[in-house]
């Protein structure tokens, strides 16, 4: 018997089928959105109706290979357009405010004001964050996207197109509520297999949010 025999055509076909099936089943309970252009249009239109968001969040970072995870908590604000504030409150304090082209970062020791235009990486991070909550992520040239749905939510799988983003992310997965088209969770999958999930709770849409919240 020849144990070095190369797999023939049927074996390759089988492997391709298995790979295809694995990819299709990647998101259990979801099916691909049939009319993607229509979804994009609807997503953009509905997202436009969201002027402000206030929410709590829970962030869980899982270091897969090290079987280690860390959970942090905080508060999130968004005001159209281009204004985001993220406050981590437990187990550490950290504030990030994005207001147009300006950014404020305050950690436990220092405060730093950054002009995002002067730093390409900050510019990209800023853009991704704003695009995610503003509903314009599907138009971003930084990603190719696939969209899935179940009866309650949409799932947007964003794959970085640029080399600089590919270094940090394998995919970013957004789960969007069908009810109001707001983002329920953001999952950042890193190339080495680590995963960070941000889950939003106590979400309030379109309540008054003072401009001072985003003061730099």
């Amino acid at each position: 018997m020849n144990s070095n025999r190369k797999p023939g055509v049927p074996v390759w076909m089988f492997l391709i089928l298995i790979a295809g099936a694995a990819r299709a089943q990647q998101y259990t309970g979801y099916k691909p959105v049939a009319d993607l252009p229509a979804f994009k249009q609807r997503f953009a239109t509905e997202s436009q109706k969201v002027q402000t968001i206030t929410a709590d969040f829970t962030q869980e970072k899982v270091l897969t290979a090290l079987t280690e995870k860390i959970t942090s908590y905080g508060k999130f604000w968004f005001k159209r357009s281009n204004r985001v504030r993220i406050d981590y409150t437990k187990p550490f304090t950290y504030r990030m405010v994005m207001n147009g082209d300006k950014m404020l970062v305050r950690d436990e020791q220092k405060e730093n004001r950054i002009n995002v235009r002067s730093n390409k990486l900050f510019q990209q991070v800023n853009r991704i964050m704003i695009d995610c909550v503003q509903g314009t992520i599907l138009d971003s040239k930084d990603f190719t996207s696939r969209v899935f749905e179940n009866d309650k939510q949409y799932l947007l799988e964003m794959t970085p197109a640029s080399k600089s983003l590919k270094e940090f992310f394998k995919t970013i997965v957004l789960v969007v509520d069908k009810k109001d088209y707001s983002v329920k969770s953001i999952e950042m999958n890193e190339p080495a297999g680590d995963v960070t999930t941000i889950l939003f709770s106590n979400k309030t849409l379109n309540a008054a949010v003072a401009d001072e919240v985003f003061a730099l």
Binding site: Q109, K110, M188, A192
Partner: protein, 206 residues
């Protein structure tokens, strides 16, 4: 003329060895065994790094692995991994993951040496010599071009700091606070030959 005299004095001061005042003393084996750093247990730390006018913050995980290796992983607050270093049980080092912005030999080498000192790796194989200066006893282990010290009080009651230095220059000091040497509350790594400080504060998980 006066200016020249001051300059010469400053120059001589700068050239004077930081270790000039050390006088050899006999090693106290029981003190050395008791005080030699034993590494760190698994913990997360909030971290800030100040290097030549730049400031970076994030979270640092020190993790003891089942194979007795230690992993040191630095992420930003939003969870993106900046580097993942592995120190094997035999002290060998590998950079498992480093982002492009930090993936430069001098950066990795500096961080490797800093974390090796924090983890007490230079002290694993003993071969100590001892010196005294004032009320401090220096237990030193010769490295390739430097000496790594752990420094105790005269009564061997406390570990004051860790340090590396060349023959003349103090290079890096590590100071810890807290009651548990394996899980210190804070760790400060300070470079003395250029402006770099790493500050760690242990996280209490919610």
């Amino acid at each position: 003329m006066r200016y020249l005299r001051y300059s010469l004095l400053l120059l001589l001061g700068a050239c004077a060895s930081a270790y000039k005042g050390l006088r050899p003393v006999a090693v106290d084996p029981s003190c050395a065994a008791r005080m030699a750093p034993q590494g760190l247990g698994t913990a997360w730390y909030t971290t800030s790094v100040d290097v030549i006018g730049k400031h970076i913050s994030g979270l640092l995980l020190v993790k003891q692995m089942p194979d007795s290796s230690t992993r040191v992983v630095f992420t930003n607050e939003a969870g993106v991994t900046f580097f993942d270093f592995a120190f094997a049980a035999d002290g060998s080092f590998s950079a498992r993951q480093v982002i492009k912005q930090l993936n430069k030999k001098p950066v990795i080498e500096t961080l490797r040496k800093d974390f090796a000192l924090v983890l007490g790796l230079p002290f694993r194989n003993g071969a100590w010599q001892a010196w005294q200066e004032g009320d401090e006893v220096y237990y030193g282990v010769a490295q390739k071009k430097e000496t790594a010290y752990f420094i105790t009080g005269p009564d061997c009651a406390s570990l004051r700091r860790l340090e590396t230095g060349s023959r003349r220059k103090r290079k890096v000091t590590v100071e810890q606070t807290g009651n548990n040497a394996l899980l210190p509350d804070t760790i400060i790594v300070r470079h003395h030959t250029f402006a770099m400080t790493i500050s760690l504060r242990k996280l209490e998980r919610p």
